[in-house]
Amino acid sequence: MSDIVEKTLTALPGLFLQNQSVGGPAGVKASFSSRLGGLVRGITALTSKHEEEKLIQQELSNLKATVSAPATTLKMMKECMVRLIYCEMLGYDASFGYIHAIKLAQQGNLLEKRVGYLAVSLFLHENHELLLLLVNTVVKDLQSTNLVEVCMALTIVSQIFPREMIPAVLPLIEDKLQHSKEIIRRKAVLALYKFHLIAPNQVQHIHIKFRKALCDRDVGVMAASLHIYFRMIKENPSAYKDLTGSFVTILKQVVGGKLPVDFNYHSVPAPWLQIQLLRILGLLGKDDQRTSELMYDVLDESLRRAELNHNVTYGLKALTYVIQQDPTLALQHQMTIIECLDHPDPIIKRETLELLYRITNAQNITVIVQKMLEYLHQSKEEYIIVNLVGKIAELAEKYAPDNAWFIQTMNAVFSVGGDVMHPDIPNNFMRLLAEGFDDETEDQQLRLYAVQSYLTLLDVENVFYPQKFLQVMSWVLGEYYYLLDKDTPEEVLTKLYKLLMNASVSSETKAWLIAAVTKLTSQAHSSNIVERLIQEFTISLDTCMRQHAFELKHLRENVELMKSLLPVDKSCEDMVVDASLSFLDGFVAEELSQGAAPYKPHHQRQEEKLSQEKVLNFEPYGLSFSSSGFTGRQSPAGISLGSDISGNSAETGLKETNGLKLEGIKKLWGKEGYLPKKEGKTGDETEAPPVPQESIIMETVDQTLIKKDQCQVLTQSKEEKEKQLLASSLFVGLGSESTVNLLGKADTVSHKFRRKSKIKETKSGETTSAHNRTCSYFSSSSNATYEDGYYLDTLQDRGDKELNKLSLNSGLLDSESLTELPSVEKLSNCKLSSSPSLFTDNSMEGFQPSQSTALSVANETSLAASLLEETSEHMHSDLVEVCHNETISLSSFKIWKDDCLFMVWSVSNKSGLELESADLEIAPAENFKITEQPGCRLPIIEAESIKTFQYSVQVEKPFTEGNLSGFINYQMMDTHSVQLEFSVNLSLLDFIRPLKISTENFGKLWLSFANDVKQNIKVSESQAALPSALKTLQQKLRLHVVEIIGNEGLLACQLLPSIPCLLHFRVHGDVLALWFRSSCSTLPDCLLYQCQKVMEGS
């Protein structure tokens, strides 16, 4: 084929020439109608890039003249535009034609318009200023009766459209969702999806319409709506659980071949739809047993029909995801995986390793890690190495079958990963050696093995190890060489000395090396090498090394001091250092009495000097004497001298470092850990313990596997046998054993080397599957009722100050329950009455509410009674239970303080026992700054009592829906610890407070704000009247009404801590024209959304 084209291309110019030479009309035609053809031919005939450039520049200047000539008709323009597109594609600038492209789209007939739109979408980007000129045309075309025009407009809207102009076309596109033509509906859905991507808040009010699209009778429209659902479900799976049934039904129909044959692709029914639906179901079913159960049938069906071998990587990818949920599925495809391991394409190999990584267990670890190392040795790309090395180290820590293997694997990791690997790897490794496990002899063996293996490695001549590896070696040798029980460390000192003299060793590594030498010197009594080393380095140019050498020299003179400073095998114990240097007090006092100046810290001296002089500093080195020697001492390598692991020894002296708690850590890796490969799968099957009914599916999987194995045996070649052997070693432990795992969490294999101090993990393997509900009662708009009381006097009910009775349900609609809050008003009055500068200067960050005033609770449950310490002066939500189990119940409520949102969680202990080490932790959340209030840590919760935890929450940037999650930990007497998770929804309204300003200030602010959003919303008859709309906004959004002028209203609010937002609104028939302005770019959008929700909801 390529030959043919090549030939054709060369023949082409001749052919056209022929045509032309025929002369007459045909020639004329060719020369005009196919100018593009001429251009292309011209380019093809050229030999160099330079000539091409010349030709195109010439072409462009011709075009420039043509397009700007007034005589050029739109038809000619259309032709020019195609040539411009071609030039741009080749990378030449044709910006002079942009405006003409827009003109063509505005003025041309259908065909010309089409070229114009195409050119615009290729030339411009969505922030291009010229695009604004197109908005009116798009609006006009959207309203056209010609389907093609509507289609073009929808296409351009989804291709490039200025974000701020979305409101102009949004209602038109919304209408198109009801259009009678499928293609229009489909394009409209996609255009709205595009809007959802670039400005989610503006389309949030039409989510209900997407549901209609999902149920559309046209498959294409339904498929288009899946895009948007995929996206939304990814963002918030819990909100769409109710649609699981619909998706399953759709998938069932697709898989069952219920769609028209048109949708078959290579006899697979609508594969794209299947993929999309499966991914959606995957998101919905993740971590949710009940939802998942709904889809098992259809998943099984789809799996059976799918052919995984179509393109291997794809299969692998899918498999990787599946395996996260269910490792046994990998068993079915083990032969495919083995083949992929030998695949020539490195990408496939890597994906395969990724998959293997996920199915690793204590039994197949050696084989898998070996495969990974093989790949590692071949790869050169840095990020692959970093990634893979990290994985190997992690697996080795988790599942190492024995000491020797572990050390060797880590050696490989260090020598290949070298200096690019994550610093955590060597750090963790050293910490592991130092901290050890339960079994002291086992620890010593591991250390001893490490020492021996490093000595052997250092024996090899002419091998260069990465710096990080050398550092690890020197630390290990320094700490644990004594385990070898040799009289003098002469041998190892020689090796270290050789390294020290090696020019390729970095100075950081040298510091590690000399630290090791120092440690060893304390064990050796006299050593020539050490002396020689001191001699060499006391005159070294490297100040840091010189420092070390001098330290070593002086320490050697005082053996007692040296021994106490460098004790053997005490790297885990903290040194007590008198950081205040109190032993010098006498000396200081003496000097002071003799008239010495008191010591001033460096920065203080510098400041004083500067303030005194206030003139140019002419001394060249006057102030910058600090660095070299001083910092040299602080270098990490220097610190390693005392106690490498516990970090800076001075620091450890100051704070009682959290001692490493090693008790209670299971010692898991031992001889029984590594089971040799089992022959075939039959072994697994017979050994399988009786499993509960949930795992019956698993059993059947195993059985089918055996059947497969059996028939395969008959036709096996030798090669296949090898592969099967590999397979059996790779997939060992995934079969019947993991059925047990399936019942619990997927990865309950306890980590071999895990340290308790590092990982927040409840000690017991059985994490209590607690009630884990997202608590969404807190959509605060429903129970927050702020009332300014300026315009709605009739609603005031000053008598009703019993906040305790504010109830969740009546709060919303019942005007009688509106409560006026004098204190809120008072506070905000004095704060916000004056000039705009107040908002920006107001720093409210330093707020520290005292515990007593902060508490105020709606007294709904008897439990909460005890929480009520003082009557509230702030609005608050009702107490809602967020999670509970048989022992405790955790409730929470919000207090809308003037300057922050205050969250109170109260834990009530329902049991008769004391709860120990109760601790509530809130995960750091995006957008929020969470500050824990003092006095929250309560180690013990007595029987049948209540404790509260308080947090103040600040927003960092505007959002629409937020979520705070966290967990509570506690321990019952003598039992395992229990962890309960919970989450609470936050709404933007939680952080909106009225902003009381005068009309004059409103005007000033209005002009100073750059970000605005306008939107018209339709409201029902009852809402249309100004007072009622105003009331709604005032109550539910906590807006302050600044002034009402005729049918227009001015409102103001602020987002905590102090971002003002202004709203201008006008009632016009049943349309409410809203116009937000703020100094923050996203706030108007978010508020608009809330506003729409409120207006539609009521």
Binding site: S2, I4, V5, K7, T8, L9, A11, L12, P25, A26, V28, K29, F32, S33, S34, G37, V40, V82, I85, Y86, M89, L90, G91, D93, N109, L110, L111, V115, L118, L122, V148, T155, S158, Q159, I183, K187, L190, A191, L197, G220, A223, A224, F230, K234, D262, F263, Y265, P271, W272, I275, Q276, R279, N311, T313, Y314, K317, H343, P344, I347, I348
Partner: protein
């Protein structure tokens, strides 16, 4: 989302460049070149997916390509797209081109760049997959073609010329350059000269 659709020939000459994400002009050209070099060095028998080059966003983006005779079709997509889905989408796109151009070849893409863009617009809209059903796409294109014919029929002639040229070297297909047809159109043309 599809970030970009690139079609270039075996020598790296761009034949269709369509970006759905904004890149400056010169970066676009560099991306085309970079992608070409990434794809070129791959054998035909290895996997059709690879990680995106550094310019387009690195490993988070995938390049999915197919090689047809003289042309590479490369789709650059983000993680929200399924690789296999896109791979098949390329096939759908090319098959559609084949239906619309009757035995498509590189020349069609060169001389009817605008048409190719229109066809693409019916498959991918603003970076989102609009339609995968080939009959549906062809129906849309035909609807547009009817429109074109009714408005002038100007561009129909060169299309025929090219398809004639295309068949020149294929012995089993008779040369069917219909001179008469061309002559008939000429009077219409003279008014634009």
């Amino acid at each position: 989302m599809i970030q970009a659709i690139l079609v270039f020939n075996n020598h790296g000459k761009p034949r269709l460049v369509r970006f759905y994400q904004r890149f400056p002009e010169e970066i676009q050209q560099q991306i085309v070149r970079e992608t070409f070099h990434l794809v070129l060095k791959r054998d035909d028998n290895i996997c059709n997916f690879l990680e995106g080059g550094s310019l387009i966003g690195g490993p988070e983006y995938k390049l999915i390509y197919r090689h047809y005779a003289t042309l590479y079709f490369v789709f650059c997509v983000d993680s929200s797209e399924s690789e296999l889905g896109i791979l098949d989408l390329i096939q759908v796109f090319v098959e559609t081109l084949d239906k619309c151009f009757e035995n498509v070849c590189e020349l069609d893409l060169i001389f009817h760049m605008d048409k190719v863009h229109y066809i693409l617009q019916e498959v991918v809209m603003g970076g989102m997959v609009l339609e995968t059903n080939m009959n549906e796409i062809v129906a849309q294109i035909e609807a547009q073609n009817r429109l074109e014919k009714s408005e002038g029929g100007l561009s129909a002639a060169p299309a025929r010329a090219v398809s004639a040229v295309k068949n020149i070297n294929l012995p089993e297909i008779p040369r069917n350059i219909n001179i008469g047809d061309l002559n008939i159109k000429v009077p219409n043309l003279s008014q634009f000269v």
